[in-house]
């Protein structure tokens, strides 16, 4: 399978820089350059540059594009303006999740959905199937697009050195097209997956190498470093952001994952609406919570949570949290245990280890 894994336009640069490469979602990606903890700290205190070209990009155009997207997702795209971005789960009729994604509204009849790498082909097939009932064009443009992310408190000041566009004018979850960065035409959005301020930069695949080099060079005096998927995971984990395949899946609904504010049950008909409404009316039986380890040990995905020896849930993600220097986990627990202060155990290598339910996210950046 190894030779079938895809490479981003930056693959050779990563290898040359000594990055450790791993398979992720069908791609060969850098998991770390110098070390996960060092890269994590750089993003929290200075800035980090990520190659996230593995993310899928699906373009939807046509008169009925808005109507179709609103039927596909649980959030309400009709409430967004042109150049605004919307986060949303996309559900099956069962209420389980196909994927979670960002909708970039480029025009009233032009959108890009940014989806998880591992789900890209599945999403494209799912969306194309629904599109048969609408006057829309659906194109998978993932291979033509490279995506970089610059994240951290110094992201704006670094990026500003390479563009005349006033970056402070781009608000959180808004985008700007045709931004020239070091002479390269990009689509820029104030978004990210780290819990820090920052931008995601979309450019032609052929421009990615030049852009990456220019950013790393101009950002060096401010402490900008390249950051791999290892730190991307610990950063999103501390910030309580869900990862598909862990906190969301075909068998975990967005209600269980606590994404209620991205579900608009009262908008026009959408896929999963009935199942989600029913779940709300009947009350959900399990809920995603934050857990802090009290005893020694790291809870990992798949470990069992128990109370008085009785299984009460499963860990979906667990890690050492570098910024907080503690071990935390996200876990799906029986609904009535989803309350800060509840005590439980996580079974680690056949031994119960003490833990306590805490508020999530574990990390919130200072204003």
């Amino acid at each position: 399978m190894q030779d079938q894994e895809k490479k981003t336009p930056l693959y050779d640069l990563h290898v040359a820089s000594g990055a450790k490469m791993i398979g992720f979602g069908g791609w060969l990606m850098p998991v770390q350059y110098t070390g996960i903890l060092e890269e994590h700290a750089a993003v929290r205190t200075k800035a980090g540059l990520f190659d996230v070209s593995h993310m899928g990009d699906i373009k939807i155009t046509g008169q009925q594009a808005e109507e179709m997207i609103n039927f596909l997702i649980t959030n309400d795209v009709t409430k967004t303006a042109v150049n605004q971005i919307l986060y949303s789960p996309m559900c099956y009729p069962t209420g389980g999740v196909v994927d979670d994604l960002l909708v970039y509204r480029l025009a009233l009849d032009e959108y890009i959905l940014v989806v998880n790498a591992a789900n890209s082909d599945k999403d494209f097939a799912w969306i194309s199937e629904q599109a048969k009932n609408y006057h829309v064009q659906v194109k998978n443009i993932s291979d033509k697009v490279a995506q970089l992310a610059i994240q951290g408190p110094r992201a704006e000041q670094i990026l500003q050195k390479l563009t005349l566009t006033k970056l402070s004018g781009i608000r959180y979850y808004w985008l700007q097209r045709d931004v020239s960065i070091n002479g390269i035409s990009c689509l820029l959005s104030r978004t990210g997956y780290t819990g820090e301020d920052g931008f995601e930069i979309y450019c032609n695949a052929g421009d990615a190498v030049g852009l990456w080099k220019a950013l790393l060079e101009i950002g060096k005096p401010d402490g900008l470093v390249s950051v791999g998927l290892g730190a991307r995971d610990t950063l999103r984990f501390e910030a309580g952001l869900p990862l598909y395949g862990h906190e969301l899946s075909e068998t975990i609904s967005p209600l269980e994952a606590g994404l209620d504010k991205f579900i608009k049950l009262d908008k026009k008909s959408f896929i999963g609406q009935e199942a989600l409404r029913e779940a709300v009316n009947n009350g959900i039986t399990r809920k995603l919570v934050g857990i802090e380890m009290v005893g020694k040990g790291i809870a990992r995905a798949g470990y069992v949570c128990q109370q008085f020896g009785r299984p009460v849930g499963l860990v979906t993600s667990g890690s050492y949290a570098p910024t907080l220097d503690k071990n935390f986990a996200l876990a799906l627990l029986e609904g009535d245990l989803a309350m800060a202060g509840i005590r439980l155990d996580v079974e680690i290598r056949d031994k119960p280890v003490e833990a306590i339910v805490v508020k999530k996210p574990f990390y919130v950046r200072g204003k």
Binding site: G35, I36, L37, G297, I298, Y320, P322
Partner: protein, 128 residues
């Protein structure tokens, strides 16, 4: 890659230092580099009797959980408590301050069956 001449090694990337009838155990420089930042070490209980290849300890990096096996038969006589609060010592000083545990052996000739530095070096090269 640092592979001290005076130590013995296992295929699981552990090192053993023989001190009389005691075997001090740790993981190699190669192993700590492969694992990445170590954030947790679960140490064995002193007095625990182990057969060769029994679980001796667990080392967790940010991304991975790795079992450390007893390289020889023996009884745990010391553990490196420093690793409880400073697991990163395994990365910083794998052959020194990053030692994991000490085993008391009934028969110290068991160490003779382990790899020499040259043999271990060849094993790593084969892997790379």
């Amino acid at each position: 890659m640092n592979i001290p001449e005076n130590l013995r090694y296992t295929k699981d990337h552990e090192w053993v230092r023989l001190e009389g009838n005691k075997a001090v155990v740790g993981i190699t420089d190669f192993a700590q580099n492969e694992l990445g930042d170590v954030v947790f070490v679960e140490l064995p209980v002193i007095g625990k009797k182990l057969a060769a290849h029994d679980n001796l300890a667990v080392i967790e990096s940010v991304k991975a959980v790795s079992d450390i096996f007893a390289p020889v038969v023996g009884t745990v006589s010391k553990v490196n408590e420093v690793l409880t609060d400073s697991p990163e010592t395994v990365n910083q000083d794998p052959y020194g301050g990053g030692w994991i545990a000490e085993l008391e052996m009934a028969d110290s000739s068991a160490v003779d069956g382990l790899l020499s530095a040259a043999e271990y070096e060849a094993l790593i090269k084969e892997k790379a």
